[in-house]
Symmetry: C2
Subunit: 409 residues, 2 copies
Amino acid sequence: MKKEIGFDEAQELTFSSIVARKTETLGLDRLTDRVLAEDVVSSVDSPSVNASLKDGYAVRSGDLQKAGPESPVFLEMAGSISAGAATRLKVAAGRAIRITTGAPIPQGADAVLAEEFTRLAENRLACYNTAGPGRNILQKGTDIQKGQAVAKKFDRATPPLVGLLATAGLDRATVFKSPVVCVMATGDEVVAPGKPLPEGKLYASNITEICAWLTQHRIDSRVCFARDTEEAVVSTIREQIDHVDLFISSGGIWGSEKDLMLKVLESLDWKGIYHRVRMGPGKAIAFGFLEDKPFFCLPGGPPSNEMAFLQIALPGVLKMRGHQRPRFPVVSARLAETVRGVGHWTQFVHAEVRKEEKALVVVPLQQRSRLQSMAGKNALIRIPEGTEVLDAGTLIEVQLLDTRVLREE
Amino acid sequence: MKKEIGFDEAQELTFSSIVARKTETLGLDRLTDRVLAEDVVSSVDSPSVNASLKDGYAVRSGDLQKAGPESPVFLEMAGSISAGAATRLKVAAGRAIRITTGAPIPQGADAVLAEEFTRLAENRLACYNTAGPGRNILQKGTDIQKGQAVAKKFDRATPPLVGLLATAGLDRATVFKSPVVCVMATGDEVVAPGKPLPEGKLYASNITEICAWLTQHRIDSRVCFARDTEEAVVSTIREQIDHVDLFISSGGIWGSEKDLMLKVLESLDWKGIYHRVRMGPGKAIAFGFLEDKPFFCLPGGPPSNEMAFLQIALPGVLKMRGHQRPRFPVVSARLAETVRGVGHWTQFVHAEVRKEEKALVVVPLQQRSRLQSMAGKNALIRIPEGTEVLDAGTLIEVQLLDTRVLREE
């Protein structure tokens, strides 16, 4: 197990050791934002026939060659066709058939004259414009051809792509399985929300926040609590391990006599990858595999817990679900106040990005309450290892945790 | 009912007529991204006692005034305290108590000396540093004080805020109810995904995509299909109306003899707000209220359907859930090719934003297949009414439908 590694190396080791393997086949209604595990080809042509793009009249283009605003050509009506209706009607010379948007072009016709260029009186259609071959016709297979690739392995099923899969004749797709995450609080001081709070104890805000982030990504989690003994932690892990794909524990990783996580995991013969990362907050994080399941041990202090989760564990969870570059969006913003790094590690600073006259400004948050600074931030400033200071006025890239600040006014 | 209104007026009428009213109280595990319907105050102090910020030793600061790296002060050990444990231990003069992070400061002590400045031999603790009053102590209520406001009405429950609510002693909160949306496909030509596709019919890609967008926002939907008769549409609406809060229909709004939606809604005595908006695609949209439930009639052509949904119906749904400015994020990007507007309406153009050497470039998509252009875009260019052309090379604001393009390299 590596010790005290740099942040970039920790991220690299996390991504390279977690590989999406398991797949599942889901209906379109459960596909949103999942990652495809195989290429997808269309099983149909779309449209399935030549179809009208307009409400109007199916005609033979040759009949209307001399039609104009002042010199209508008159055609005889021979029926009507609407979208979705089967028809055996044909358009003979000198005739027209009423047609609505999406309806199949009848035999004999090679164009649709839009309604606005016509006047219908009894059974005679006055046509005030030409309609060249193919006019207002969406040819069979224009949108998609049967057998054509419509999506690739590792594509994310965005809503428009889910719609495209429906058009392509699919009602399901194979995606990487979404891991079920065990989110485990350790520590005698931790109390579940809603229970009475004895003096000296605290509510389980870390795991509550972690579960909220997982919910935002629509990832299922199971919450559990373990008391501060090796036996309690071992038995909690054993209860959960057959039901989950990945573990995230909170607390017990710093190194005091009460910090049991590493002892327990070593006793269970885990494969440790790293412990302690040169990042702040979040330094005490450990990562490895227990029975081939990724196991992130996060520190228990709220700012450390959150940062280790956001920068390392959450990307790891998303990698397991097939996302190839699971990182936060970054934007350029002008730094409102000078911030100082630590030099020998990567420092993350809570910040608020604001829009000022269409330009983005980023303000480091230096509030007295750690927790209100955590809840008030919408961005993180990353000061790389080796950088001592970022000066006020500099244009820097910041991680956006919440893109609402970018909304249209 | 207003007719042929401008896009900005349509958006304004939509936002001003849809008001979030119904509320529900949800546990923290269901709160993510919901909008609070009332202010929230803390029911506890956090921390609930003065607590240690470090692993180390609780001491009386006066005892260590002369301690230094070369001149240790020796204290007698008098027990240990860990986080979450109740204790009656006291620190008398000349004594120290072992303490771990988060543990309550015992009576008598006013500072914590961090472990790194100590050496313990049997029951004697050598202290190599001073520890002024309050050193390494997180005072009771520093993070949150009982009765303090922690969130306001209309705040969105981001994951860090959900964590903060837990810390503040809450296990639930009152939020605006998330509407259940009826997504209704109309038209004899529409076939549900997975069923055989008779010639001339097409799969229900519109409503599939709409439901995928709603899923992305974790909004529940009920899908239904109505055939092309007034009776069928009326009976479908009647079946659904007691189970849903909002309607979105697809198709039947253009104006041909098969376009039944307005006729049906007028027969049901709806309150129409507007029909037809000067926007493209999506012009044929209608909006009103049926028995006080918002009803969006979207056109049936896929690009029109999607644009009317994204620009008008989806923001309307989110407004009903309490979001105050439910719009897409916008970013500045350099336009790669000239695009032309229509002048007398607002035009939306499918586009792809790319990151090129850290700058954003936006490429209008002009693909042969409408549907692949729909699925390939990650952004929309909006050409306002009255603007004829946006020139290549101009820096423009584009709506981002997917922020993955902004991710860190």
